[in-house]
Symmetry: C2
Subunit: 348 residues, 2 copies
């Protein structure tokens, strides 16, 4: 499971993040329309692939990674001086997310994403063949990956910073793919999964992109990374709680999907370390089955929920402390603090 | 099927292409060793994925796309003045090829590649599970894609040209993915497949990268693209003949794989347009079965082989004519002419 959504503010409040969200959505619509038109002209039979990328991207979440990128830029310079580049590189992150979600959902056999059918499910239905649908879905992901690079390194990025932005964008990909590999193989190296998968491309990656785009200093980077790393772990822990206890209506994903897939997520690991032997065996037996309600009871009994909530609070405090650095502009630090609070308290 | 190999010269001749091939292989070994070490340190359970990328890349062919890139650079400036960048961007193309081959082979269900097991087959065997093997293979491709970007846009590329090199590298990806989508869906739009899939990333893409790397002019680009486009079609036609008549020992791929997969390749299409009705029905019946020898006989009977050989000769002549442009350095034009001859006459 790759998680992605959260609440960035209330509907009545048109602030900087809401402004960014609108700009990103408008730009995504524009480039996806162009891509669809190009496919219609040059590869008519492949249009449906692009349509799937378009639909999944545009029914996307709250554009939280763009908010993180913008806040990092704001720690270095006023983001409005780089607005077009901030929007384009943000679109690059969102398209990267589309690519990863499409591949991920097929690997995990997930059928629901962002409140609609996953791409491999849609395409298998359309072509009446499961393997063909999966193949076209993998290619839809590959196409989104190419589009992501196109936007992340667009003509709006200051020419002297393209190299640094590319480095950040590529490092994020290398890390998240290794992290996802560990996840798919159900590795017990949970910390590596947290760091590489979620930490990397949810927090550290967007912040690294913002820092590169704004031409930040080494001192600014040190402060930003000291913020990003604990927050990335906190985000993943929250995600694991949602993956164990969230319901489909709220998350747009299958309920308790991590439990039904027997993922070695943080609460499961917590419980397996602390429950008495008989309960431990029971938990092992119900993981990966439809008896996820019993698995949830056992997790609660083990104290996993309070324990992990406490750990999230500690990590958030650590992240906020890093923002005290005098190297960072206060305007940016305030935005990052707000995002940290939202990420640690979200319900989906 | 994605094809890739050809002969670039005899073993006794250590010329510019052989020199490049050795430099590219050495550099690929270095970066793949580093990637493996990084995975061992940060994502131990994912090492096998990187090992698979390493093995497939290093048992790679004749490095024909790098040769094409180098020749295009040489049309603009002496390639040795940009040697490190030529090598790195060449490695980027080779890793892109690894990425595309891994995904492609899984989609096509191919079991043999470059004389070894395909990545999804190896990994399915290793993990004892077909879906897990396929998932890890898709991720191996995704990892190769990130590495490809890393090399194509390496620190050796002149900073002022990173943006242009990125454009060429991304355009190639967008095109080849659309082309592969048409191919997988067995689209009847053969010309679009030729142009987008093979033309794009076998000839036009490497040449565009070389042109961007060397900082070539618009006039030079016009001459290079007039060379690349007919050659790309000729390459694909040769590929289709090999896909229908090649044997596994020579090509490192399953014999007559296109016929067994009932691909609407150029010779099949030729035959279906020209054979009498009864033969046409017979051909349709044997395509996609093990009776590929009968399919081959029917193709020969239709005149497909001579007809397509003739067309390849015409396209080669057209490509060579474009090299007469005074905008191109003679040293480079000579190298491109040599590559065109090799590509049009290859047996694998």
């Amino acid at each position: 499971m790759t998680s992605e959504s959260m609440t960035l503010g209330t509907a009545t409040q048109l602030d900087v993040f809401e402004d960014l969200r609108r700009r990103v959505d408008t730009r995504l619509e524009g480039v996806l329309d162009e891509a669809e038109a190009e496919a219609a002209r040059r590869a008519k039979d492949a249009v449906e692939t692009v349509v799937q990328v378009r639909d999944l991207t545009l029914r996307g979440g709250k554009r939280m990674r763009p908010a993180m990128l913008l806040a990092a830029v704001e720690c270095v310079v006023e983001w409005k001086t780089l607005a077009a580049a901030v929007v384009d590189t943000s679109c690059g992150i969102e398209l990267l997310q589309t690519y990863l979600l499409i591949h991920d959902d097929w690997m995990d056999g997930d059928t629901v994403r962002r409140g609609g059918a996953t791409v491999h499910v849609s395409l298998a239905k359309r072509y009446g063949d499961e393997h063909l649908g999966a193949s076209a879905a993998i290619l839809a992901g590959d196409f989104a990956s190419a589009m992501a690079q196109d936007l992340a390194l667009s003509h709006n990025v200051p020419k002297g910073r393209v190299f640094d932005v590319a480095r950040a964008f590529i490092a994020m990909q290398r890390e998240v793919v290794l992290g996802q590999t560990l996840d798919v193989l159900n590795s017990s190296d949970i910390e590596a999964i947290h760091d590489l998968k979620t930490g990397s491309y949810t927090v550290r990656g967007p912040i690294a992109l913002g820092h590169a785009l704004a031409g930040g200093s080494a001192e600014q980077w040190a402060a930003l990374v000291a913020f990003a790393n604990p927050l990335g772990v906190a985000f993943q822990l929250r995600d694991d709680l949602i993956g164990a206890f969230g319901d489909e209506k709220e998350t747009g994903k299958s309920a308790a999907s991590d439990l039904r897939q027997a993922k070695m997520s943080a609460p499961v690991r917590w419980a397996l370390e602390r429950l008495p032997e008989d309960r431990k065996s029971e938990l092992r037996a119900v993981l990966g089955t439809d008896q996820y309600v019993r698995a949830q009871e056992l997790l609660i009994e083990s104290g996993a929920v309070e324990g992990i909530e406490r750990r999230i609070d500690e990590l958030e405090a650590k992240a906020l402390a890093a923002l005290e650095s005098p190297a960072l502009r206060r305007e940016g630090a305030r935005l990052l603090a707000r995002l940290a609070a939202m990420m640690c308290k979200r319900k989906k």
